[in-house]
Amino acid sequence: MDLSKLSPKHNEFLDFLKQTIIEINEEKAVEMAQRIIDEQIDPWLAIKYSIAEAAKIVGEKFDCGDYFLPHLVMAGDLIEKLVAILEKGIPSDKLEKKRVIVIGTVRGDMHSVGKNIVATMLKAGGFEVHDMGVDVPSSSFIQRAIEVKADMIALSSLLTTTMPYQREVIDELKSEGVRTQFKVMIGGGPVTREYAESIGADGYGKDAIEALEEAKRLLA
């Protein structure tokens, strides 16, 4: 990201925005995002530098144990709010469509912790995330993915007896003739990369960091 053309003051603004996101200081972050618009700094710089860098650092802080799951949720919500503010300063024809991911825990499975971590990491990582919760029927994933024009469906399962529902989603996508419209990424305690390959999933994440990297790779 080339920030050399910006004045030192505007560089400071972008750094300040990044720092307030890392600190999850909503009031100051929102104020600075508005100021960036008012000062006519290119909002893309704020999104692609301040927000992207901050999201990366928040993820690292979670990974090393400095931050907890609620911090990820708060950072994700804040980023969503900031992007909405900054996008107002971008002409509609120049807006980049965000990559959309529908995520949930498959039918019959009530486990949410791992899915929540992945969902918030994806959100903080710049994706538009639609979290469908737990115990989600296969057809509901597909219906929502079609509705929101998703790029990816991410499926979590923590039980060996619910893993088949990950395959069921892929099978239903095929039978409805929409398999190629969506990438499918799977994960969860007993799920392995070999299993992902065996059911025809496009990607697999062992943990949240790996899931984020996999999503970025698949949707690049």
């Binding site: 144990g65 799951l69 949720v73 708060m74 019959g108 499975d109 039980l159 060996t160 062992k206």
Partner: protein, 456 residues
Amino acid sequence: MISLLDIAERIQTGEKVEEKQWDMELFKTISSLVKKYGIEFPGGDCFINIDNSLPERAFEAAIECLEKLGIYCITTKRRVKLGREETLRAIREAPSEILMGEGRDRRVWRQRKIEGREKLNVCPGHHTPYTEEIAPLVVKNFAQITRADFIEGFNFSKVDGREIIGPPMEVYASRRQMGWMREGIRKAGRPGMAIVYYPINTRAEDLICVMDPDYGLRRTDGILLSLLPDLKMEQDMLSAAIVYEEYGAFKISGSFAMAGGFCGGVEGAIIEGIAKPIAAMIAYRDYIHYTGVEHIHMLNAKEILLPGVNWARSVVNQALNRFTHTICMRWVIPTSGPGTELNLLEIAMQSIEAAVNGMNLYAPRHCRTAINHGQTPLEAEWMIEIADAVIEQEFNRETASVLITKIAELFENKTPQEGYSITECYDLIHHRPNPDYEKVYNNVKSQLKALGLKLF
């Protein structure tokens, strides 16, 4: 004690709360209680709490947490309010021992005391998936462990060669699980040994279908009905709890808190770790719990040890043992897989902790278990061997802490090892580890002897 029907009413009439709102409320409430009650990790290599005032403060914080938050029903999205007095009354009225099994295999599970000299109750396995081809033999091997008091079932992905998908197949598979368990304990010569059903799924039909004195779950057996993380309950679990109260089976619960989650760090996890078994006892009538604190990154096998987790675990169990009747178990859950040196060292560390913190022993298995890849009987026998030595040598919290610190040094610069499947490292026909695994075992044993543990 608050009746289960009261809970059934409250999950239908309590305040409506969105799950995200609950999660954040939990975080804020617990964070403020951590400050209010001065719960703070002393830092450094503190593996076991020796401050006797801390468990009392932590217990008070947990009671206040339950009074402020209650329990969240994820099915109806309602808050189950709990009054302080009714919570304290439920704690007073809970039993501190549970009778299980029948005939000569009948056993009593008891709450142990901190630094208690009584031997630990033991559940050797499973709580890890196996394939149906080896299932009865695996059960037989675990039931052959003489000190085993009850044995838990397991999950699997295929039954009669068919994939388990959908409620009808789940119901069938649930009953086969019980069939294999009953067959396994008979083959081991322990026909009356208590079995705990490991739910194939948490739908009411899957939970209740195994009730069958002849071929399934007997009245002297038990079922795992766990609260979810963040003090969350499920309607179907409550339905099953009501049925099993009438039937007579006992119930156990996974009641540890997860540091790094919505409860916050290890200090917050202490509060949830104490509140959760109390909540599970009220919501489902669970009296035996695997308790303590784990960390998201350890459960994910990213780190072998993280600062404060062992300490937090000890605070939770000390508080539960001093101020409640909770029958605590240590779910020995190493980050390395079976057949490895690190697996046995982690199990040793956690078994030492269990012995001095008033816990019993439960199902040692790899934290990222996969089919046939979670545990072998050797690890269960090893955890018993270690705990017995700790009792025999009359370790207290201070001396156990010194030993644990030395074991922790062996983990420095190490990362979790994946390990082997049960058929790769264990001879199920002859109930013994294969020669390579036996070498690993003997090596670890020598290391611990050198550190001062008297093992035979």
